[in-house]
Amino acid sequence: MLKISNLHAGIENNEILKGINLEVKAGEVHAIMGPNGSGKSTLASVIAGKEEYEVTEGSVVLEGENLEDSSPEERAHKGIFLSFQYPVEIPGVSVTNFMKTAINEGRKAKGLDDMPAKDMLKMIRDKAELLEIDRKFLSRSLNEGFSGGEKKRNEIFQMAMLEPKLAILDETDSGLDIDALRIVANGVNKLKNKDNAVIVITHYQRLLEYIVPDFVHVLHQGKIVKSGTKELAHELEEKGYDWLKQETAV
């Protein structure tokens, strides 16, 4: 589904990603772990097409199509979804209206008419239930005054609504208490199927107890320095990242 080859990217001549290779197949869950500043969030932003990052070498290919010239919205229409570490507050625009706009813009891009209001409401209700979201929450302004947990739950709600092929969860566990974490992880697991894929970006192993990865990659100084199965995550949890730094320094 996703093939990243020798990806170099950075911001204002400062190279952050220094040759990433990663292949994600449909039905898989990949975890990307690594210390702060290793380039995890940059990788997520580059896949989603954030314009301030410049790709200097290599490619990101989704289902055989090079995304080089695609804008963030085009990537979204092609099925990429990024759950933000810090979701943005949009006062005056309700969660419901925001989702209506997002869904219908996606349909417009595919040459479809707006989703009938009745179907939209049903879909919103169903997905809200999946994430144990109260209906009152849906009429509040997007992310405005939301707690950390509410913001993250709302991100996964948006993911449920948009039904992406590839979802990237950037530090979705940060700021979540154990109950919220379980709800969010449950939601992701219910949305997971053999045709889509998930990349979980996290500093800690905690979230991976709930969203179990098929593969774990360790990112360090802009490169994937180690890949393995979920046992690698346990190893990192025990040893921390210091051994890694020493290993790469050698």
């Binding site: 932003s45 989603a48 097409g49 954030k50 314009e51 301030e52 804008s71 963030p72 919205e73 990537r75 979204a76 229409h77 990429i80 979804f81 990024l82 933000f84 810090y86 979701p87 943005v88 949009i90 006062p91 005056g92 625009v93 209206n97 925001f98 209506k100 706009t101 997002a102 869904i103 219908n104 813009e105 996606g106 891009a109 707006d114 948006q158 948009l162």
Partner: protein, 427 residues
Amino acid sequence: MAFENNIDVEHPVHDIRSEAFKNFEEKGFPTKKEEAWKYTSLKSLQKIDFSIFPKEVNALENKQVKKYFLQEIDTFKIVFVDGIYSSFLSETTHDGVDICLMSAALTKPMYKQYIDVYFNKVASKDDSLTTLNTAFSREGAFIYIPKNKMPKKPVEIVHFSTGNEASLMIQPRNLIIAEENAELQVIERHQSLTTNEVLTNVVTEIFAAKNAIIDYYKIQNDAKTASLIDNTYINQKSNSVVKVHTFSFGGKLTRNNLNFYQNGEYIDSTMKGITILGDKQHVDHHTLVHHIEPNCESHQDYKGVYGENSTGVFNGKIIVDKIAQKTNAFQQNNNILISDKATINTKPQLEIFADDVKCSHGCTIGQLDEDALFYLQSRGIPKKEARALLMYAFANNVLESVRISELKTSINRLIAEKLGVRLGFDL
């Protein structure tokens, strides 16, 4: 401009008019040399040969202008076409309250008591454009709400210009009086229906007696060849609440002179505005709150979004007299520039002579947040729509205090139209 030929010497307020004219003759139009007009030039307007008084009455069909009125709710309407009253488009009343015409108020004996007490009493006697209006205005709205009364529905004051004259200058004059405990909602709009030049120099005097509540909404969404100089003077007595909302999306040149005088205690004066400009549009907000007595509040919150070659000015003056202790005065002006060529000049002007007051002011000029833009785009919302959503999010809290929900809907539509987007829902 040959104004003097048109003076009616028999008129009951003739003395006031001739004095005003004398003042205007001395001062003339303001120039950029004056501090208050530093960023707004009337020069190009003065070059236009405006007709001061239109020659014939122009009839308008209801269906031509329907969209400029609130449609979902019923309202009283005082409508003018090229400065002349249109009884056909209007709905006035004398049932318990007076919602009618300035010309009637100035000439009918039953209104003399109000004219004597209120006419030209809060309007400036030396501001040149105000005196120009005082000298030459012939028509406008007159609203009198007696003690404890409230009209059944909001009042719309609408001025249309038909382009019958190549270039037309209109000088409407409004007088609005709310007695003790009275309540009133007014929506004022100026609308040119063609691309001929129009210059409106309007003066509105508002008197709010004790405990009166007035909501005044100005919709400035005129054609690109229409200019507006709005001079509004508000005199408030104790415990009264007056809120003025100004929505500036259209027009060529707009100057708002909004002046509040607090002649009592526990007064609340609120000024809010949303300005969204493009093209070469220019809007200048000059506000003044004069805190004359103790224990009063004033709130100002103006949001501006400037694109293309547009220019904006915000100048907020707050005067707190020595005896006006315990004054709370807040002022906020936030702006977003969405083009390299757009300009905003913003300036708070505080003159505080009392020592026990709370005054805060803040102005910001920024750009759209790139991270927020990316967030919306990553959800599949195209850049143009995403930018529009962010601009809306930036400005919309000003709408919270709009108390007529149909008006709020209508303003939201104007905003979406101005931003050129269809968001799939009413904002």
